[in-house]
């Protein structure tokens, strides 16, 4: 992005009531074009959001962070450069580069790092923080030739790395990946000496643009994909199962090693909660045998469903999506055949279809990098680790309730379901925030909340946050429903209500309302309802309990609800903190 384009983006008109993101760019240099590029990149990523990026004083990075007014800031972006640790590590200051000065420079940098760490931790208690470590070269102040790393330089780098590794464990602090920055902005083309000396802005424009772009991605990262559907022959393994036989397929031999890497990568994704399924034109019995091989690098239990037949792959994909109950746009399909990719893409344009490069090792590297970007998540939650088990449990539940000749009442009773309700507000409830922002089907109105709005909502003393976790004999689903609303006398208003599709058909939605009616002795619950393209499940539910056309102010009386509520057999435990 050129500076002129960034200025144009910033000046694009927006609705006056557009939500506002208030960012603070903390840096010790003149923020100038980095501020412009960062504002533009954030606008670009959230076109309907107003973005204001403010900055602090020149030459006082730590002080700028220490002085932040938390209430006026939604995100903190910190761009650290070496001179922020000690002015003598820059070129604007003439404090001395004598040999005798070097130990003092290192010591003072270490003290400044400690001060920065404390200040950043303090802010991160309330506001998400995004940090780039020094991107510019150290000046030639060390006595060694450039090719040799000075012990002082190594110590400085160690301090910075230790600082980052320590802070990165904090749930609200994220660091820009230096490797990614190096790939996009050559280190030798970053420092602008004249600009640094003339205006205190040390970056060449292309570097400022790239740095701002990556920081904006860090702040407004894209929603991660949820599932990957893979082919088998010449993809998960080398060889054609039907021709080479179970012992003829490979992934260890020199030529087949990229398939081993791919298996290892899929196992990594699965362990992070990504759903992995198989769509293959093959003999099901042979595939079953192939998956018995003990040297596979991905556990067969990590693959679900395994859909094997001789029909079109789009049929497999359709069945897999139904089993997973997720939308096509959350899925990646991988196959070595361009024809199969085209067939699936024609049926599901929203699916990202990627070619497995069976004969191009370099392309495999690019594929793995691409997949890491598509599936990467800032935080792995407990729910990620049980997602596949809960989908298997849902399938078992569906199978049992359909096939056993048992009524749903009896089936649910036998499931020994337990529901845990937490009623109270926790800023750090990452799962609740995630559910609000990714659930589509059982979603009261499709409204999303950015971190600013989330914090504002929770800080409002008149609102509540209700979370619901579920477990039955088929397995735990973790936290699967969130309700946000307010209580007033004998009525409640629900502004947000989402429930994971994994939790359907267990009468958890009825339990939520039943508990609210009973616990707070309510006479009426009203809903801030809006239809969306995808929220039919909640439309059906509300229609059923109101028995009236739905409008934006759906109201359900206690009596009406109790008349229509089916038997609820969950064991319910509640933890209530009304003031929390």
């Amino acid at each position: 992005m050129k500076l002129i384009d960034a200025l144009a983006i910033i000046r694009r008109p927006l609705a006056e009531d557009a939500p506002l993101l208030r960012g603070f760019l903390a840096c010790g240099f003149t923020s100038l074009h980095l501020q412009t590029f960062l504002t533009a990149r954030l606008r670009e990523r959230s076109p309907l959001e107003r973005v204001e990026v403010t900055t602090g004083l020149f030459g006082d990075l730590a002080g700028n962070i220490e002085r932040i007014q938390i209430a006026d800031c939604d995100v903190l972006v910190v761009a650290i450069e070496w001179q922020d640790l000690d002015l003598r590590l820059g070129i604007r200051n003439l404090g001395g580069w004598r040999v005798a000065d070097l130990p003092d420079i290192v010591n003072s940098a270490e003290r400044m790092i400690a001060r920065l760490e404390k200040a950043i931790r303090n802010v991160a208690g309330s506001v998400p923080v995004y940090i780039s470590l020094p991107t510019l070269p150290l000046p030639p102040l060390f006595t060694t030739p450039s090719v040799q790393a000075s012990v002082y330089e190594l110590q400085l780098r160690q301090f910075v790395t230790t600082f980052a590794a320590s802070l990165a464990t904090h749930p609200r602090i994220r660091f820009l990946n230096a490797q990614q920055l190096d790939e996009c902005s050559p280190p030798s083309a970053r420092l602008d000496v004249q600009s640094e000396l003339l205006s205190g802005f040390p970056y060449q424009l292309p570097h400022a643009s790239v740095l701002a772009e990556l920081l904006a991605v860090l702040v407004r990262n894209p929603t991660a994909k949820k599932g990957l559907i893979t082919d088998l022959d010449d993809t998960l393994w080398a060889g054609i199962l039907g021709e080479n036989g179970v012992d003829g397929i490979s992934w260890h031999l020199e030529k087949a090693h990229i398939h081993g890497l791919y298996q290892q990568f899929l196992a990594s994704l699965a362990s992070a909660g990504v759903l992995i399924a198989v769509a293959s034109k093959n003999d099901p019995a042979l595939v079953e045998q192939a998956f018995e091989r003990e040297d596979l690098l991905i556990d067969k239990r990590s693959l679900y469903p395994i859909d094997v037949h001789w029909g079109p792959k789009s049929e497999s994909v359709r069945r897999i999506l139904k089993t997973w109950n997720i939308a096509p746009d959350a899925v990646v399909f991988i196959d070595d055949s361009p024809m199969e990719l085209a067939e699936v893409k024609a049926a599901f344009p929203e699916i990202e279809c990627l070619l497995f490069p069976k004969a191009d090792w370099q392309a495999l590297w690019q594929l793995l990098r691409r997949l890491r970007d598509l599936f990467g998540k800032a935080v792995i939650s407990d729910e990620d680790s049980i997602r596949l088990d809960s989908i298997r449990a849902a399938a078992a539940l569906q199978h049992s309730s359909n096939g056993g000749g048992t009524s749903l009442d009896k089936f649910l009773e036998d499931a020994h379901a337990s529901v845990v309700i937490t009623f109270g507000k926790e800023n750090e409830d990452h799962r609740a925030f995630e559910l609000i922002n990714k659930t589509n089907q059982f979603n009261l109105n499709g409204k999303r909340l950015n971190e600013t709005a989330w914090r504002a909502y929770l800080s409002d003393p008149t609102t509540f946050l209700m979370g619901v976790s579920y477990e039955d004999k088929y397995g735990a689903l973790g936290k699967i429903a969130i309700l946000l609303g307010g209580l007033q006398g004998t009525s409640a208003r629900i502004n947000y209500w989402v429930m994971s599709c994994r939790a359907f058909s267990r009468r958890i939605e009825q339990r939520c309302l039943s508990w609210l009616f009973e616990h707070f002795d309510l006479q009426e619950i009203s809903f801030d309802y809006q239809p969306t393209d995808r929220n039919k499940p909640i439309q059906d539910f509300l229609s059923n309990i109101t028995a009236a056309p739905l409008n934006s102010d759906v109201r359900v009386s206690r009596m009406s609800f109790l008349e229509k509520c089916p038997p609820l057999s969950h064991h319910t435990k509640a933890m209530v903190n009304v003031n929390g």
Partner: protein, 80 residues
């Protein structure tokens, strides 16, 4: 008006969005209150980006009006 002129007006317009084209052509440090040091630095960066110029520090005090910048760009752009 030639292409170089158009590009130069576009650069000025990015820094001074409230000025129309006539006002830009007559703009100077004295007549435009928004033409402060920060605007100068941004303008120089835009010239650098748009025309591939490396503005010499010694020339900065002379770049105080649209016509001065125009002459500077014409001279250095043609020479480059």
């Amino acid at each position: 008006m030639d292409n170089l002129d158009n590009r130069l007006v576009r650069c000025f317009s990015s820094v001074f969005p409230d000025l129309n084209e006539d006002q830009i052509r007559n703009a100077s440090v004295d007549s435009v209150s928004a033409w402060h040091s920060l605007a100068s630095v941004t303008l120089i960066a835009l010239l650098q980006e748009e025309f591939g110029l490396q503005v010499n520090l010694a020339d900065l005090p002379n770049l105080v009006s649209f016509s001065a910048v125009q002459n500077y760009v014409r001279h250095h752009h043609v020479a480059s």
